[in-house]
Amino acid sequence: MPDALRLALAIAGKDIRAELRSRTALLSAVVFAALVLVVFNFARDPTAISATDLAPSVLWVTFALAAMVALNRAFTIEREHGALDGLLLAPVPRGALFGGKLLANLAFVGTVEAVTLPLFVLFFNVDLTAALPGIIGVTALATIGFVSVGTIFSAMAVRTRFAELMLPVLLLPFMVPPLIGAVQVTSRLLAGRPLSEMLGWLRLLALYDIVFVTLCTMAFSAVVDE
């Protein structure tokens, strides 16, 4: 196994183990997602707009807000006892460090999304049977992009006094392109439209992933090194 991958897996494994023990971010994010769905469910007027038309936006706003809660923890855990210094001191290439944090964040946000999706079906009574593989695919594609940006902004925000406030302020503008793409693809999937109608948006999501995973990996050193 290449050294960088081994190190990235070690860092991701450490984050996952710590989170499984405390369950702080995971539980908070899942509860938060459920609350957002409840609010949307009671706020909508089913006679004015159908659940199918509203559902894609609600789903992605819920995913985005819950991801924000989960991402806040990414580097907060490194703040206690100066643990980030321990990581930076180790012979770990900064790219591998970013990769490890990204993998752990993808696991957290992916878990939150996996728990949120059935709740969404329950609240909005949307039939996902046919669209499920596509929904999983577009969720993965969009999540990689905004979690990648969220990981680097989380590292940036943790050094500020108001880290929990800074992350949404920094991240939300960068979440707009993948969220628009994901909503567009999801609404077409729920409407049973052919793949050809979604290709443009899927290309946008893939491009966003490639550009931002590469940029964030390269820029990580400048963010974490004092």
Partner: protein, 239 residues
């Protein structure tokens, strides 16, 4: 990584560091040979901890260069970092992992062959074998300091940077730490020990440096008893 013949383990040339318009280090030169223990003393705010962070590669100097085993210590110098061990003000441990898990994680980062065994051995050497499965949050300040020392030594660094290593240690633990420092010196490691209390490291040190307002005011071989050095030290720090 072996050091080249005649090459110091750690060398710094013309180190400067500013935070905005405030300059906290002024043209610091430093060289550390194998088997040397440099005690760095000075008043609060003298720049000692900043110097240590720069020597550890955790902070970039505004000007100047640090070389470890002859190699420049730049931002992504992963291989050179293997040679450095740091004990900072904080333990660098995770509260949500046990001590054994914390040290095994560090062992993995440094590519040690059997991380779990290495972690247990390090905790055993620190007298923390019985606490291996406890979280750092359950430890007293003194025990946490011992765990942090075990963490710093785990990967067998050639250069040890210690910031106030005797903080919170009881007399027995302090003696044990002094014996460990002696042993590391005998193994030809280079040690930089930052302290407010020279008495704690005087017998172990081979050189003494005093930093005041970001400048060396003294860097000389340790000679004679501490009592003979103290009047000069008090004069330098304005005590």
């Amino acid at each position: 990584m072996p050091s080249r013949d005649g090459e110091p383990l750690l060398a710094a040339r013309g180190l400067r560091r500013s935070f905005g318009r405030l300059r906290v280090l002024h043209d610091i030169d430093l060289s550390l040979a194998p088997g040397e223990v440099l005690a760095v003393a000075g008043p609060n705010g003298a720049g000692k901890s900043t110097l240590l962070r720069i020597l550890a590669g955790l902070m970039r100097p505004t000007a100047g260069e640090v070389r470890v085993l002859g190699q420049p210590l730049t931002g992504d110098a992963a291989r050179v970092r293997r040679a450095i061990g740091l004990l900072s003000h904080q333990s660098l441990l995770y509260d949500d992992l046990t001590l054994a898990e914390n040290l095994a994680f560090v062992a993995r980062l440094y590519g040690l062959a059997r991380p779990a065994e290495a972690a247990r051995a390090a905790l055993d050497a620190a007298g923390l074998a019985g606490r291996a499965d406890e979280s750092p949050r359950r430890l007293s300040r003194g025990l946490l300091q011992r765990a942090a020392i075990a963490r710093a030594l785990l990967h067998g660094p050639r250069v040890l940077l210690l910031d106030e290593p005797f903080t919170a240690l009881d007399a027995v633990s302090a003696d044990r730490l002094r014996a460990m420092l002696e042993a590391r010196r005998a193994e030809a490691l280079g040690l930089v020990v930052v302290t407010h209390h020279l008495a704690e490291v005087w017998d172990v040190a081979t050189r003494v440096a005093v930093m005041v307002e970001g400048r060396w005011v003294c860097d000389e071989p340790r000679a004679g008893p501490l009592e003979r050095f103290l009047p000069r030290y008090r004069e330098w720090i304005g005590a």
